[in-house]
Amino acid sequence: MLRISGITQIFGGLIALDNVSLTFRREEITGIIGPNGAGKTTLFNIVSGIYRQTSGAVHLDDRDISGAPPEKLALLGMVRTFQNVELFGRMTVLENVMVGLHTRSHSGILACALKLPGNLKEERGIRERAMQWLDFVGIADMATLDAANLPFGKGRLLEIARAMAMEPRIILMDEPAAGLNSRETVELALLIRKVRESGIAVALVEHDMELVMDVCDYIHVLNLGRKLDEGTQREIQENKEVIAAYLGEG
């Protein structure tokens, strides 16, 4: 459903991505792996509308979304999480998820200030659904905490709850396991599968090989801005070039 074709990104004289093409499908978890500096996060930043690529195109279904800003992509059903966890720190955990329902609600400034009846009903609906999504990731008991006071691992889960609240069609996760302990990583794997089962395409940039091999249905390997290989986990594990890129042999 999401197709990236021939993306090239040049920063100054540095070629961060060189003619990279790949696709993500519904109800599939697609992993993007590669050593540091391979261009994984750059790719995510382009797809999610934060950078503008030097050349190449991104299609969601058959719609060209190259260069669309993030708020427009959100309306088309694309959402992402961040490597460094971008929570709204001074808002409560519940309110964070409620922001995720922004595109699912419509009251304007005037309706909100005057508290019109329609707005009250909408507000109640937002609150209930936000609670359900907190429940989905298993942190409903922390709803009233300030997001800034959340333990790091729970912050990751909150980011996923917030993204899921948008009822997206594709979710891009940028290193969701970074900074998690092994137990939290196992829980994360379960959650990512649960996300896939709800009919969403999951794109996963990740360093934790165990997690990638565990959950991904299909894997793309990047190295130094180029695509090295793609395939199922077994095919990737057997590829000598991939092993070399990671271990620095050859």
Binding site: E86, V99, I109, L114, N119
Partner: protein, 321 residues
């Protein structure tokens, strides 16, 4: 949310009863200014405390409201209520148009741009003598009236102004607890994440800038029709800074804080009169001490001080709006 409403009703009742304690007199006149300043501080707080965007030019929007109302009524005999609406709409639209290029800027650059805007408008107040009366001001502005009730003394104006102030507070509290309020705070905390959530940050910032300017213009209209005289001196750069100080001292993002800040900065200079020439020194020192020791503003410090003084109780929630 019910507690929020109860808190507001108690607050409103107290303010409406307040004039009973001093029959007319000087203090009542000062309280008119507390009301007007509260409206202005809330308007700026929506922009600064919620959306996290600074403005050093808000005195200019206040002035535009005052002058538009003054000129339309004194020179062109327009009905004062109609003049107030026209002023709010014109200033709101102007801020909307200016907002698009200006709010692309961030931090210090936005501060500089709004500062420049404020100064330009201040110069217009002074130089467009035919329209504004120039430095000597514009007089003969009529009072507001409803039927035969003319708001021509301090007590009547107290109720007029505080009706507007309380309405502004209530609407702003509603807004703060809505999807728009959350979107604004989200922009403040992480603009990129807010955008990924589908918040049109650029448009929302401009809209809130425009709303904030329109609120300031309404305060300006009230000021013009209460004082029946306006001159540029009230709308200079100094006053923009004073407004900013009210918002920060009161507490960013707190509606009641804006009231506390406005009340303190309006009443304090009056109380310090006793110190004669040293008043400005003491005033400055107090502001420095407050920003050092109450970084969360009066809105956060107030409950903490009350808790510290009162006998020990099991831990209570942090109540802030």
């Amino acid at each position: 949310m019910k507690r929020e409403l109860l808190k507001f009703l108690i607050f409103a009742a107290l303010l409406l009863l307040l004039p009973l304690f001093f029959q007319g007199g000087y203090l009542l006149n000062v309280l008119l200014f507390v009301g007007i300043h509260t409206i202005l501080a809330i308007g700026l707080n929506l922009l600064l405390g919620f959306a996290g965007q600074i403005s050093l030019g808000h005195a200019a929007f206040f002035g535009m409201g005052a002058y538009l109302s003054g000129i339309l009524t004194a020179t062109y005999n327009v009905n004062p209520w109609l003049a107030m609406i026209i002023a709010a709409v014109v200033v709101g639209i102007m801020a909307f148009l200016i907002g698009f290029p200006i709010l692309k800027l961030k931090g210090h650059y936005l501060a500089m741009a709004t500062l420049g805007l404020g100064i330009i408008i201040y110069i217009v107040f002074n130089e467009a003598v035919d329209l504004t009366g120039g430095p000597s001001g514009l007089s003969g502005i009529p009072n507001l009236s409803i039927g035969s009730l003319i708001f021509d003394n301090d007590l009547k104006n107290y109720y007029l102004i505080w009706a507007f102030t309380l309405a502004t507070m209530l609407l702003s509290i509603n807004l703060a607890h809505s999807r728009i309020g959350r979107a604004l705070r989200a922009i403040h905390d992480s603009e990129v994440a807010a955008r990924v959530m589908g918040v049109n940050a650029r448009l929302l910032k401009v809209q809130i800038f425009s709303l904030s300017a329109a609120i300031s213009a309404i305060a300006g209209s009230l000021y013009a029709h209460t004082m029946t005289f306006v001159s540029p001196a009230s709308f200079g750069f100094n006053f923009s800074i004073e407004l900013l100080t009210m918002v920060v001292i009161g507490g960013l993002g707190s509606i009641y804080g804006s009231f506390l800040g406005a009340a303190l900065l309006t009443l304090l200079p009056e109380m310090l009169r006793a110190f004669q020439d040293y008043d400005i020194v003491i005033y400055g020192l107090l502001l420095i001490l407050m920003t050092m020791f109450m970084p969360g503003g009066l809105a956060r410090a107030f409950p903490a001080i009350v808790a510290a003084i009162s006998p020990k109780k099991p831990e209570g929630g942090q109540g802030s709006a």
